[in-house]
Amino acid sequence: MSEGSKEDSKGVPRLTLDQAVKAFGAVQALADGSIALFGGEAHALVGENGAGKSTLVKILAGVYQPDSGTLAIDGQPVILNGPNAAREAGISIIYQEPTLFPDLTVAENIFMGRQPLRAGRRIDRPAMNRSAGEIFTRLGVALDPQRQARGLSVADQQIVEIAKALSSNSNVLVMDEPTAALTTVEVERLFEVIRALRREGAAVLFISHRLEEVFAICQRVTIMRDGRFVRSALARDITVDEIIRSMVGRDLDVLFPKTPAVVGEVVLQVDHLSREGVLRDISFSVRRGEIVALAGLVGAGRSEVARAIFGIDRRSAGVVTVRGKVLPNGSPLASMAAGVALVPEDRRQQGLVMDLGIDRNVALASLGRLSRFGLISRTRERDLAATWASRLQLKFGRLKNAVSTLSGGNQQKVVLGKWLARDPSLLIIDEPTRGIDVGTKAEVHRILDGLVADGLGVLMISSELPEVLGMADRILVMREGRITAELSREEADEDSVMRAATGQLKGAAA
């Protein structure tokens, strides 16, 4: 309906990328990267993973040089031959994966290569720490600029990334999924900052898989598919359905295909679980055929519950029982033997061996079954992987290919396959669809739905409220290491979950 967005434009775009092409060997990562960013506007770029968004971002960042196509800033063609050139052109990037220096301080992370100087080209540390503090005040977060970056939570790392981009006073800000790791409150703060930036005349490119965020903050939407520009429209002229249809090239009516649960006996029973300083008196159960969601803000202790159940962290008190058997404390091996599977939050670091093939990764948790006289049978390994690849509708070239070559959604399927191959009775899944595109997201949800229909019990941790509300049969809300509410599918809505998650802070959640 508004194919001709250029008619709505307010003068010359701050930045224009026109028909950028980028290939890596035989792989065409970007076939037609086109976008126009206007000052004072937040512009959403949406598309499935593999649609070419990240390649486009890296071109704007000066990390990749396009094979052809033009880039113009304020109407003047420019060539960005490196990250510094992009920065000097006034473009700053917030990357999807935080890229921090763990050994350096937060302030140093923000100002690396651009540290404020005093006489003799020496670094002015007090000024640097002060500036970092000012940015954090603006973002409304309490983060110590002089603290080492090592050990920061994912959300705080993301905040440092955001601070990095804000510190350079650029007038083009590219945000590649900045909200993936943030809580609702932090997202709202980020939106405030984006609004302020827009008022100051900056152009913002906002990439997110959460379409509700796109509509909350962006004035314009550009959709990409298979490395190509599909369409661009004003946000008020387009609907969610139209966006999704353009993204996936097909109709996709249900994101959350949840069939009513047929619950069976108790699979997991947790009684008075505690962990010094982290968890306090956690009790709940998961039965066959149901999805129980752990909701709450980042840092509420949801992942810690999973880790304590599985035995990665030791419990200081409490009993965990799986199918009537008490799990020993601090033994992931015993938990696995009892039929517990854990799909971790950070699949790149904790779920996969990125340089190994799909087949090897799928087989990783089942090596005992695949070996004969202590030697692993390659044939059985490949058969197992092939079985799960087809059951999970994995999109891949060859089973031997390294998982690092797969998109995020397909990587998640490999992690799932790895654990499902063990035929578990309880699946603990932490952020099942973080950083996964809409199409694959629905597929993962369908897989989960199918698994519980087959009698699996699922404990799901998710920061995405729609996912929690859409997929869970029961919702446990956590706050500061405690369970503050248990809601059935019927009683749960955004308001009730957020209230329980934030405690007294009713206003902040609204």
Partner: protein
């Protein structure tokens, strides 16, 4: 707001205390070794003995500074021992063939020899992307072989070296050996530069997270190249000072220094995988290893113990680092769990 400020102050104090803990820890061990040895052998605390101690440590400390520059970038320079030997011989050869060469020229030649070798190391590592472990290991043997060819039986003897040059090896200034003063100056300059200049922070960034360094526009290849050139140059300088200290050079000069230096640096708290550590720590590590060495000699313990103890100390230092970082990580995690209420 006040609560926040107090929290920050505490965190800050804790952070710098941890950073300093290593230097303080080495200082305590150093004093303990020194005290215990003196009880056994009163000669250990004489001015002469302490001067010897400092002079011996000075060379390793200087090499340790160069090694720190390299290790912080997630590389390693194993060629320093051979460079010391070659530089010492070349400078000695210069003096014996051209009597009357000014002392300063001797130093310049020594540094130049090291800089050239460092430049080769740096080029192959940074531009050709060959792992520095392999590059500098190869260079260790190449330079040692070259040294052997050059020396070929001509041992440099003290009579052919100018007195003014040898004087640097044993003269003192208000009781402090010149060698130690030179080493302290090198440490001080390097410590300041690594803390206060962008290029110095770049080295830490490269070692801490190479990908992030690239995204931040840090010129990694150039910085790594420079680190190797500086490490080579310092090894060259140390070679010239080796000649001044021992006044004799044969083909074994500097042999085995590379591992001694790496041990000193790691004992001094420089992370072997890059990203953290200071040259002050490295210098203290060198002093500690040398003190233990001398203490064993003074206590008439078999020389074989010396290496075993250096090795054990290295293991201890690395194990302690791991333990400490695990503790810090755990501490941060629980602190976060308790404090985050957004």
């Amino acid at each position: 707001m006040t609560a926040l400020a107090v929290g920050r102050g505490q965190k800050l104090a804790r952070g710098s205390a941890l950073l300093r803990a290593r230097e303080v820890g080495i200082g305590v061990v150093l004093l303990a070794v020194f005290g215990v040895t003196t009880l056994h052998n009163h000669d250990f605390a004489t001015a002469n003995s302490v001067q010897q101690l400092l002079s011996g440590a000075a060379l390793i400390a200087m090499l340790g500074v160069g090694e720190t520059l390299v290790i912080v970038t997630r590389n390693v320079d194993l060629s320093v021992g051979s460079v010391v030997g070659l530089s010492a011989y070349v400078v000695g050869d210069l003096f014996s063939h051209h009597p009357g060469t000014p002392v300063i020229v001797g130093f310049i030649v020594g540094i130049a020899v090291g800089a050239v070798i460092g430049a080769v190391n740096g080029f192959v590592t940074a531009a050709l992307r060959v792992p520095s472990l392999v590059v500098t290991l190869a260079m260790l043997y190449i330079v040692r072989g070259l040294d052997g060819l050059l020396v070929n039986g001509h041992i440099i003897v003290s009579s052919s070296i100018p007195n003014a040059f040898v004087a640097i090896g044993f003269r003192t200034l208000v009781g402090v050996p010149w060698l130690a003063i030179i080493a302290a100056a090198v440490v001080a300059i390097a410590a300041y530069a690594m803390r206060s200049f962008r290029s110095g922070r770049d080295l830490y960034a490269i070692g801490s997270n190479p990908e992030a360094a690239a995204l931040a526009g840090v010129p990694a290849a150039r910085r790594v190249f420079t680190a190797f050139v500086l490490s080579g140059s310092l090894a060259g300088l140390a070679g010239a000072l080796f000649l001044a200290l021992h006044a004799e050079v044969d083909v074994t000069a500097g042999a085995g220094y590379e591992l001694l230096v790496v041990a000193a640096v790691v004992v001094g708290g420089v992370a072997i995988f890059g990203g953290s550590g200071t040259v002050v720590g490295a210098a203290l590590g060198a002093l500690l290893l040398n003190t233990i060495n001398q203490a064993l000699v003074a206590s008439r313990v078999s020389a074989f113990w010396n290496e075993a103890i250096a090795g054990a100390l290295l293991l201890l230092a690395i194990a302690f680092d791991r333990w400490l970082s695990l503790r810090i990580a755990r501490g941060l995690r629980s602190a976060e769990g308790a404090h985050r209420d957004l």
